[in-house]
Symmetry: C2
Subunit: 336 residues, 2 copies
Amino acid sequence: MARVTMADVAREAGVSTMTVSNVLNERLPVNEPTRARVMAAVAALGYEVNLTARHLRAGRTDTVAFIVPSFHDYFGEIADKIAPLIEADGRHLVLERTSASPEHEMAALSVARLQYYDGVLLSVAGLDRDQLDRVRTPKPIVLLGERDVPDRFNHVRLANEEGARLATAHMIEHGSRRILALGCTFDTAHMMSSDRRAGWERALRDAGLDVDARHVVPVSTYTSAAGRDALLDVIASGLPFDGVFAVTDVIALGAIAALAESGLRVPVDVQLAGFDNLDMANFVPPGLTSVDADHEGVAETAVGLLRRQMAGWTGPAEHVVAPVSLVVRGSTRGGA
Amino acid sequence: MARVTMADVAREAGVSTMTVSNVLNERLPVNEPTRARVMAAVAALGYEVNLTARHLRAGRTDTVAFIVPSFHDYFGEIADKIAPLIEADGRHLVLERTSASPEHEMAALSVARLQYYDGVLLSVAGLDRDQLDRVRTPKPIVLLGERDVPDRFNHVRLANEEGARLATAHMIEHGSRRILALGCTFDTAHMMSSDRRAGWERALRDAGLDVDARHVVPVSTYTSAAGRDALLDVIASGLPFDGVFAVTDVIALGAIAALAESGLRVPVDVQLAGFDNLDMANFVPPGLTSVDADHEGVAETAVGLLRRQMAGWTGPAEHVVAPVSLVVRGSTRGGA
DNA sequence: AAGCCGCATTTTATCGATAATATGACGGCA
DNA sequence: TGCCGTCATATTATCGATAAAATGCGGCTT
């Protein structure tokens, strides 16, 4: 089971290892008869290059990492969009996960691990600005996600506030007056949900409605189960409401379950809108109105920024806010 | 930006590189004063080990790959179960995807790429038995998935036929007589859907019902959209049915959409059951009855087999069939 | 006092490839 | 005939770490 090395191929073909290397990498020209002998030896021995050795010497892995909090849902969908873009450049995408804990995220960012990659896309979930500021890596890196990040990093995030405003305004326009912000929070440390709360709030103010703090309903985790439980608690408390803006589609799905269990009809009794426009939003009856985060566009932007850095660009970092739009479906009254 | 190497640390601490290595890896004992100087130098210079160099020399990466057809849904959920098990051994999990095409899968399996990992979990989607037989890798590897594989590979798959039988029998028991097999096929090359069709068929025969080939409804891809379209076609054709066994939950979700659009009530007019018991099955009203594939158990079994190989075991490969069970929810009439 | 042992540390060789440089053969030209 | 340039191929040095063997030194035995 001893691995076949370039030296074995060289011996078999009666040439030096450099000639083998030159044949395989087409760096220096090699005469046709020699090349043929080398190729024959490669085939006969079943030689394959040792990528680790190449990396150590040549400093290139042709591999890009996408580091995510979890492999689930949103990140899985984004990753499937990113992969073909990376592969189009002849590189390879791998996913790592951080469990959304700051320690894991720091570990994934340790310079040691980053060395395996030519570039890194990092979906920031657990790290705050100060922690990120401590990350000193010479590798090309692009951050994704709804946190505040140091200026020196390239960063792509969504128009969170605008998305939430759109969704909420749409429900107001179609008659809702007491709209819950499910999964939102006043805690500014968690930017995604506080930005989205801000958008919800702005829509209410724009419409001249007042903002009731009881309508901001936090969740324990960003899961459907937590969303359902939180909404069931609200229903049990008797607090009246006629609309729900869920901070993500995953939480909106939990809300759908809670409303169905409680006999509240969507959209007749309660309108509902989510955020992310996951694939399932199309199919869960009556169709989930959702803010479309344009995964495809986010993926292209992020990969574009990364590609530029990998090509040697060293200009100032960019901070892109990806536009959002509202996809209206049956869970709100504007739908067909 | 020149990287700090072990030699830099050694110079700073006034020792040899081997002493630095011994301090960091705790291989040979080092006197306390020396160790302290080394640690101080490491901290002062911000040294981090070069994992590529370590790999080349020591032949170990402490990394395991899970190679999947896509990052979506089922695979994302499984991966989230596998990751902690790998991490428990002090190793690291990364995901690669193959796009379910045989070429990509072969590329991911090329010995070259496998060298990056200490072990590989491969979810077989595109490769048939012959192609797999050509894969000659010295690395520990465990296959997952519903295909037929060569004996020499460790393999974990689900009790597909039994799961389909359970789901179908359950719907028969609660009154369905014409049950579609949505996403199933007679094509034996695709073992997952033909095995599940066999289970559906057996349940029908066990109940003394006859098997109507028109009830086997193929889908173009394993997506919700394809499931919905296929079922809408059936409905439009006028073929009567009162139950749907969907080959996966993702397809079942498409079926839910199609039924809702067509004004058919679940479970009153049509009962519906899926396969995989994805998280969303809990939340989509009225709750999706589904065959639970025991992700947790599958993950543990697969990682156990892999761990054994990585520890040096060379005994015969095992072929494990993971048991399944039916989780009854509101989409069938046995539910609460 | 010579010899031996255990311990801490250093030296040497190596993993497998490749960049940079060197060699050598051959043809052209004066 | 002798010198030079060109092209193909070979040598050498190196990437950064680590396994294995070597060194050196104080203490203990007899």
